[in-house]
Amino acid sequence: MPYPKRFDGRKFDETRPIVAKVGIIARADGSAMFQIGKTTAYAAVYGPRTLHPKWMQNPKTGVLRCEYNMLPFSGHGERVRPGGGRRAREIGMVTENALLPVLDLREYPNAVVDVYIDLPQTDAGTRCAGICAASMALADAGFEMTDMVAAVAVGNVQGSIVADLTYEEEQNKTETEGVADTPVAFMPNSGKLTLLQMDGHNTRADLKRALEMGREVCKKIVAIQKAALRAKYKGE
């Protein structure tokens, strides 16, 4: 059973509408909002600041610490219990790994750079939206970065390769054909990948096509991220 046309009428490689803003949290050292369709992520950066507890400090380099958090009212159905769980911990970790390749924190020994990602409303693609927001927030905080990072979920919905899956598409599996949900993050200049996860069933050939689509989509997202950064710093 193919998936010839997407539920919301988008092209296969088309994302939902994106809104990006930089400098949305006045108290933070850097901040950004990234909205893709009905998924909204805020990211706030604090630091570099002294890392506690002390045993976690690294005298050779600063540490990047990312926290991913769905707000209690942000889920599709029931309330999300606050406090985070194993899923949130894992996403925080893969987010750190997605962002670290563009940063050099050796100038900040024993320090931490905290990135807090909070989501007020969600419709799939939350970790990718969080990474997009975090990347802008780090740039806003003034860190030297070798590249931006953009992220998007690509996937195989009943044989069709699509970008930026919605919750409805993620759920659209049949007995014979699954949905391969594959969040990816890319550094657009080098074309290298900094996040890769997958849930579901996929073939080698389809995965390759999906990753290539992800790379192209991420380039377009980076253009939006950069425009948002320029909008804030225009004239400075």
Binding site: R27, Y42, A44, E67, P72, S74, R79, T122
Partner: protein, 260 residues
């Protein structure tokens, strides 16, 4: 008593009748309310007081009533000081400050009987609506008490009941147009005493250097439904009465901002 430089500074300005940012003691900053800011929530609102921002979301589900209150639905209010909002907030279990904030706002909403929990019963002893209001600080530039209380009320007013499936589960895909049965509209105003000055809508510097504060929850009819004194400083009966007068005046003013 040894006084911090910052406190001396705050006091020096207040003695002249002005504050760091040029406001007079009883001046509130600009207030704005946006409704429907999270489509995942049954009701939501974003409140801004100056640069302070608080988001509130209401989630409504169907649950079994507690065994000791079979004829009452559930209403709970929670507040979280997310570390995104301030360099002073940390991840992990809530701080004393966070717990006090959540409980004070919760009491304002519940003690006012804003929602009669008997109205949330679907079938006594078996099924009731359960209403959760979650408040999240997004940027803390002072006065989270008032901001949270205003956001909670705004989100409750914005909420639409979810549908109900045949087997009595909440149907989030088919929200109804029914509003929550709101009977009263509580709002909290917090007065801060620093030295001999009483002020409202504090800045972060003022919140770190106050002597006593009083949060007053007022209903739309001018009655009071909850009080909370904070800080180690003492207050006289006259001072408390004076503060309540300010609260009634400011809450009436703030209430007008709720109009859509």
């Amino acid at each position: 008593m040894i006084m911090s430089d910052e406190k001396q500074h705050v006091l020096k300005y207040l003695a002249k009748g002005i504050r760091y940012d040029g406001r007079k003691p009883l001046d509130y900053r600009e207030v704005s309310i946006a409704y429907g800011v999270s489509r995942s929530a049954e009701g939501s609102a974003l409140v801004k007081i100056g640069k302070t921002e608080v988001m509130a979301g209401v989630k409504i589900s169907i649950e079994k009533p507690y065994p000791d209150t079979p004829d009452k639905g559930n209403l709970m209010v929670n507040a979280e000081l997310r570390p995104m909002a301030s360099p002073l907030f940390e991840s992990g279990p809530p701080s004393d400050q966070g717990i006090e904030l959540a409980r004070v706002v919760d009491r304002g909403v519940r003690e006012s009987e804003s929602i009669d929990v008997h109205d949330l019963v679907i079938k006594a002893g078996e099924l009731v609506w359960s209403v959760s209001v979650d408040l999240v600080a997004i940027n803390d530039d002072g006065n989270l008490f008032d901001a949270c209380s205003l956001a909670a009320l705004a989100a409750l007013k914005d909420a639409k009941m979810p549908g109900k499936t045949e087997n009595n589960k909440a149907d989030y895909d088919n929200r109804t147009n029914d509003k929550l049965p709101l009977k009263h509209e509580p709002l909290e105003i917090t007065m801060f005493k620093i030295g001999n000055t009483v002020l409202v809508d504090p800045s972060p510097e003022e919140e770190l250097n106050f002597d006593a504060r009083l949060t007053v929850a007022c209903r739309e009819d001018g009655s009071l439904c909850a009080l909370q004194k904070g800080g180690a400083g003492e207050l006289t009966i006259e001072e408390i009465d004076h503060m309540i007068g300010i609260a009634l005046e400011k809450s009436a003013w703030l209430r007008k901002k709720l109009a859509r």
